[in-house]
Amino acid sequence: MSVGNDSIASLEKEIDELRKILRKKEKELSLLKECHVNKEKCLGINKLKLDDKLSKDDIERFSRQIIIPTIGVKGQQLLKAASVLIVGAGGLGCPAAQYLTGTGIGHIGLVDYDAVDRSNLHRQLLHTQENIGVSKVASAAGALKQLNSSIRISEHNIQLDSSNAIEIVQQYDIVIDATDNVATRYLLNDVCVISGKPLVSGSALRLEGQLTVYNFNQGPCYRCIFPSPPPPETVTNCGDGGVLGAVPGVIGVLQALEVIKIVLGWDGVLSGKLLLFSGEQSTFRNIRLRVKNPSCVICGDHPLITKLIDYEQFCGAKASDKDNAINILREEQRVSPEILHSSFMCNDEGILIDVRDTVEFKMCSLPNSINIPLKSIDETSSIQKIKEIVECKKKTHQNCPVYVLCRRGNDSQRAVLKLEKSLQEENVAVCDLKGGLHAWARAIDSSFPIY
């Protein structure tokens, strides 16, 4: 048995190392190809001509769409000559990129600063579990090249911001907004207005999706419809709200379809219309939007914004879907995983309240912790329950601290502030677990799931 385990482990290790070598070689190849393309571009010999004949591979590969009368050879040549920038190689970007590669778009650019995480794999289907930790653009580019190696794929492994966005966007014909945060959405809108590019915008959360095309054929831009960003506290991201993979899958595929229609010059592009998708009801609602707003601050008749601004400041939120760690408690109100472990776990001191939502608590929790979600921590019944447990514990223990935890250590601090007031008479210390269950998993128990 142990011999079997050993050979499994050694084979896994060997495969892992070979994968690393493969990735390195692929990267070398892609850099070489990129240099080659740039050199040819400088010499002016790589201009795709629309009267170029389709290759044998093209004809065999794309015949099923070429024979659609409204596409034909001309349409396929248009697709081959087109370039599309996909911002975000996640839940929307993966399906969009996959279908655009499939359909034969000649040049695809991918932008993402993030690395593949295990929690991405349920919806970002270009990434594989072997690529956890690898940059998303490298992982996606590798998968796309396996689909069609003749497509040019440019990897932009960066965080798009006001300093680099225009230079990148200018290299492409059409932009896909497949991002996960408000600040980057406003940035992309403004870049596309300034650079005159259509923006195919998609978004998804839980079981809902939205899709529209901004800045196209006199249609509105994002700011014409939503001139001011939502208050940050009303914005839910996929990490906190959850998302069912098939929903961004639907929207991402529809984004690819909009790009194809724009490239082919078809009517019926979703400009001036907003598509609302309900995965729950399987309904598509098409809302007729306004035309371009003549007094829009960026695309109107007299624009007030003529260059890019600071979008994180404008939105009051970071340009990512990661929660920022807050720090609203005094240092003595915060305990490390080690202290929680020795006090609560080993010495049976105090009580441990987990303020995550019940569904998360059911997914995984620490032994003997009590679940009282943050939203109900103020309720009389919750306070009563805590008081009873504290009183009971005080009978056998002199010291009865109330420990509070959550996933990452933000909600636990908010809960401590509330509990401090409600438990004033109890004369107990109320502390939060600094860094939440993530910190716990890192410091004490690596087998505890991080999500």
């Binding site: 998609g202 959360l205 939502p230 998302v243 309904t283």
Partner: protein
């Protein structure tokens, strides 16, 4: 072409606990007042705690600001005031516009989604 994918509105949501939220008429609702079927999307649905409701006592001749105010109050959307749009029977309600509504018209409350 996109119009072709429009599907009829969903059946009344039977899984809704305790039925739909019905917001009663405020002051000034007189003769010619109508009821609107309100659909709440994304963050508006979370804030309101329901996907669908009814707004009663809406004057048949009204304007965008009145609709916005009534919906915000009735569905507790104050936290996201100014960052959602309204659509009446699938048509964007332009801020500042006068609006005519009929009994049973569908008013959609649509905040932007930003996840992906």
């Amino acid at each position: 072409m996109p119009d072709a994918v429009e599907l009829p509105p969903p059946q009344q949501q039977q899984q809704e606990e305790g039925g739909r939220l019905v917001a009663e008429a405020g002051e000034g609702a007189g003769a010619g007042a109508v009821s609107l079927r309100v659909l709440l999307f994304a963050g508006a649905r979370e804030l309101a705690g329901t996907a669908e409701g009814v707004l009663t006592g809406v004057p048949a001749r009204t304007d965008a600001a009145h609709l916005l105010g009534r919906v915000t109050e009735a569905f507790s959307l104050g936290a996201m005031a100014g960052s959602f749009i309204l659509a009446l029977n699938h048509d964007y309600v332009m801020p500042g516009d006068r609006v005519r509504v009929r009994d049973g018209d569908e008013l959609a409350v649509i905040p932007p989604l930003s996840g992906g």
